[in-house]
């Protein structure tokens, strides 16, 4: 593996105003090599990749592609040079067919007399598409299928096929597994292995150390816009990579004050969001002063269950008792009954990104912010300012638009909404997804404070991150294929047993 690098970035620097996002970062990847780029949110991974793909121009530094100077001025330059990016959010045209998507922008056109008309040679387009899919070893995707009908995993493949069809030499995968189920992740890894053997240079960006260990040859760690370390993946223990990312030991991330479980606040009795869709009846009790976790794989139905309990989706059967209230209820009633929910989809549902911090934070409880049905902005701002200060939300003030905040601070606004409403039962769906470690630590601490102390509340937590569940919960139940298992004390679980149960390997 001593070949010359396929591409090389050296001393790359980029500042946005006073904030230095990248401070002399270097990265090199050889052909036939998978290099993992790891680091926390805000470490500079996205900025570095934006520079590589031509979306941003660096302030300083040098880039070379196969030894030749490389300075893309716009994304099209990078694509023409053979640098392809596969982003978290896929960029396909859902109404077009697979082959139309694959040749989009590089359609083979008829030449000769009719050349100027730009007529697409449909046969050639299909052939290009089939060839690309074949290279990926996937004959199960029909070139004529409509992309919108495909699963997320298949769509991702189409996107990779598009990159191959445009003759890419460097392939960047940004959090490619975030929307994939277990099986599809394995298939993706096989595919990456195949691309590697074909001599592609692959950059693999991920939060998940286990994935990095499995798929990459080398890793490069970024921290605060600088290289924090690199090495051969196989020779480095996972813990060491994490330590490089965090810059300190990760112990003490999950505080645990003395908690005492009190009376049940929420009783869910044989509730199913929809038995026709394969949801078994779920039962559990959530007590005051405890955090109950629900583990499970993506698509196990955890979110559906929460949404049914909160009234965002219908309940097909069963009884829900919340405090003194019985029966299903709409969200506005749930808030009034003392239950609040944090959505897993922060940008799409959790927050109105175009509205101010104050508007988002006080949305559920506008009463009391003015006489009668009036809402006084000054009182709204005062209420928001209190939470901004309490949670250390980094913003220009209560009137700043939420969409302008960083992910972690946005999430704190979403959490503050539940605190401002002062609900007794907090339903948190993936509260730490996609936020930086500092904000995560703060949210863990907050959850701990909420369920301890003199007037504890109750937290129902859905998370796909097992260490987090094991760290903060008192009891954990596992949901697998629409079926919720019994809640057991956290001491009876470990990552291995949770995963086994979640994947249905120990169906009982």
């Amino acid at each position: 593996m001593n070949a010359a690098p396929r591409f090389e970035m050296r001393g790359v620097r980029k500042a946005f105003g006073a904030t230095v996002a990248l401070d002399g970062v270097s990265l090199a990847v050889r052909p036939g090599e998978v290099c993992a780029l790891v680091g926390q949110n805000g470490a500079g991974k996205s900025t570095l990749m934006a520079i590589l793909s031509g979306a941003l121009t660096p302030d300083a530094g040098e880039m070379r592609l196969e030894g030749a100077p490389y300075a893309p001025r716009q994304p099209l330059d990078a694509r023409r040079a053979g640098v392809a990016m596969i982003y978290q959010e896929l960029s396909l045209a859902p109404h077009l067919s697979v082959s139309e998507n694959i040749v989009l922008g590089v359609e083979p056109v008829r030449t000769g007399l009719l050349g100027p008309l730009g007529l697409v040679r449909r046969g050639a387009a299909r052939a290009t598409a089939s060839r690309a899919l074949e290279e990926l070893g996937r004959h199960d995707i029909a070139p004529d299928a409509t992309v919108g009908d495909l699963s997320p995993a298949q769509q991702q493949l189409v996107e990779i096929a598009r990159a191959l069809a445009s003759g890419c030499r460097v392939l960047v995968l940004d959090e490619p597994t975030s929307s994939l189920a277990h099986d599809d992740v394995r298939k993706l890894f096989e595919l990456i292995g195949r691309l590697k053997r074909q001599g592609q240079a692959v950059v693999y960006i991920s939060h998940f150390i286990e994935e990095v260990k499995e798929v990459s040859d080398r890793f490069v760690v970024l921290r605060d816009g600088q290289n924090a370390g690199e090495g051969v993946t196989a020779a480095t223990p996972a813990q060491e990579i994490v330590n490089l990312m965090v810059g300190r030991g990760v112990g003490g991330l999950y505080p645990r004050s003395a908690r005492r479980a009190g009376e049940p606040l929420l009783t869910v009795d044989a509730v199913s969001p929809s038995e026709r869709e394969g949801f078994s009846r779920a039962s559990f009790e959530l007590h005051r002063g405890e955090i109950l976790g629900i583990a499970g794989l993506l698509g196990a139905g955890r979110t559906r269950l929460l949404r049914a309990i909160f009234g965002l989706e219908p309940v097909a059967s069963g009884r829900i008792k919340l405090g003194v209230f019985s029966g299903a209820a709409a969200p506005h009633e749930r808030w009034r009954q003392g239950m609040g929910m944090l959505s897993e989809d922060r940008g799409g549902e959790g927050l109105a990104r175009g509205l101010s911090v104050a508007d988002n934070l006080t949305a559920t409880r506008l009463s009391g912010l003015g006489p009668g049905f009036l809402v006084l902005p000054s009182r709204q701002d005062a209420a928001a300012a209190r939470w901004i200060q309490r949670l250390g939300i980094r913003s220009a003030g209560p009137r700043q638009t939420v969409g302008e905040l960083s992910g972690g601070n946005q999430q704190k606004v979403a959490v503050a909404r539940l605190l401002h409403h002062d609900v007794d039962v907090l339903v948190l769906d993936e509260p730490t997804r996609g936020i930086d470690v500092a904000s995560k630590a703060q949210i863990y601490e907050l959850m701990d404070q909420l369920v301890s102390g003199s007037h504890p509340k109750a937290v129902l937590l859905v998370s796909s991150y097992l260490p987090e569940l094991l760290g903060v919960c008192d009891r954990i139940a596992v949901m697998s294929r629409g079926r919720l298992g019994p809640a057991r004390p956290v001491s009876e679980w470990n990552e291995h047993s949770l995963l086994m149960e979640a994947s249905g390997a120990r169906a009982s």
Binding site: L312, A330, P331, H332, E333, R334, W335, R336, M341, S343, D345, G348, E349, G350, L351, A352, R353, G354, L355, S356, D359, N360, A363, T364, L366, S367, G370, F373, L374, V375, L376, P377, R399, T401, E404, R417
Partner: protein, 314 residues
């Protein structure tokens, strides 16, 4: 108020000042004489009243294409009721009630059938227009003269300076503006327009609020229809064709976004005023109608382009 909102509204107010000054310079100081300003106000008052409702609808991320038809239905309703000997106040309230029913139908179709507002109100635009023509037997409906005909008449003798209809419009503008900014209903409209799913998560009764906003919008359109009747003195089922586009244009020039979550009454009023100044200014300058249309069209596109450009800069 925030810097952002101030900028939003200052932009359109500066635009209004610039347009007025240009015509002032072309035509001379008589352009700003009280009588002329009042003429412009009378010209735009119908658009303004309907635009108050449209502002709320657009803030909530919707659109209402049926307002022009509701205006015509309202003129017909007033005329028919007056002809039947009903008192003018009851006739006006009856017309507003008929409009509100149309709006409620809009709201119910949008929330219950989950059809997008553009399509629903495109349908009811034709439906209501047809109903107005049917009610009126496809003719103008003559009605006795009452005080309703004086709503927009200049009061030379009275001490109230402006016609009653304009005072009423200004009062409604204050009410709608306060509603949008300082009430729970108003904040809920912004929440729905900005992100409907968030609004639902936060316990906003989205369907109820939408029903209310389409009903109010249509009621305001019907009030605009009463004023139109006042101007025409007859019920005319063919009047106000395409008025909804002027109304939407006023909201958009005033900083409203068709994507929802943005818009203000001050902006909308200024937007309507800009169009009125151009209209009156062009005709007093002796410019033909086609010039006026080209200028108005340019202003609409320029206003939105300017807004995008400004939004791109923090």
């Amino acid at each position: 108020m925030s810097r952002r909102r101030f900028l939003d509204e200052s932009g359109v107010l500066i635009g209004l000042a610039v347009v007025a000054l240009i015509f002032g310079a072309l035509i001379g100081p008589q352009f700003f004489r009280a009588a002329n300003v009042e003429l412009m106000a009378r010209q735009t008052v119908i658009v303004c009243v309907a635009a108050l409702g449209m502002t709320m609808v657009i803030v909530a991320g919707g659109i209402d294409l049926s307002v022009g038809s509701i205006v015509s239905l309202s003129t017909v309703a007033v005329a028919l009721l007056l002809r039947d000997g009903v008192s003018p106040l009851v006739a006006a309230l009856g017309a507003i009630g008929a409009g509100a029913v149309c709006g409620m139908v809009n709201g119910l179709l949008i929330t219950q059938l989950r059809v997008v507002p553009f399509i629903v109100t495109l349908g009811t635009m034709l439906l209501v227009r047809g109903a107005a023509k049917g009610l009126a037997d496809e003719r103008r409906v003559e009605a006795p003269l009452t005080w309703l005909n004086d709503l927009l008449r200049t009061a030379r003798d009275g001490g109230h300076l402006l016609p009653w209809g304009i005072w009423l419009t200004l009062a409604l503008a204050v009410v709608v503006s306060v509603t949008l900014r300082y009430t729970r209903f108003g904040r809920h409209l912004f929440a729905i327009g900005s992100n409907e799913r968030t609004a639902r998560l936060c316990g906003v009764r989205v369907n109820l609020v939408k029903l209310a906003v389409y009903t109010s919008s249509a009621a305001l359109a019907a009030l605009a229809g009463v004023m139109e009747y006042s101007k025409l003195s007859v019920g005319d089922p063919t009047v106000a064709v395409g008025l909804e586009l002027d109304v939407i244009a006023a909201v958009i020039i005033g900083g409203g976004s068709l994507l929802g979550g943005r818009g203000s009454v001050v902006g909308t009023m200024a937007g309507a005023a800009i169009m009125a100044v151009i209209q009156i200014g062009c005709s007093q300058q002796g410019l033909p109608n086609w010039v006026q249309q080209i200028v108005t069209g340019t202003i609409i596109v320029a206003a939105v382009a300017l807004d995008r450009w400004r939004a791109g800069r923090p």
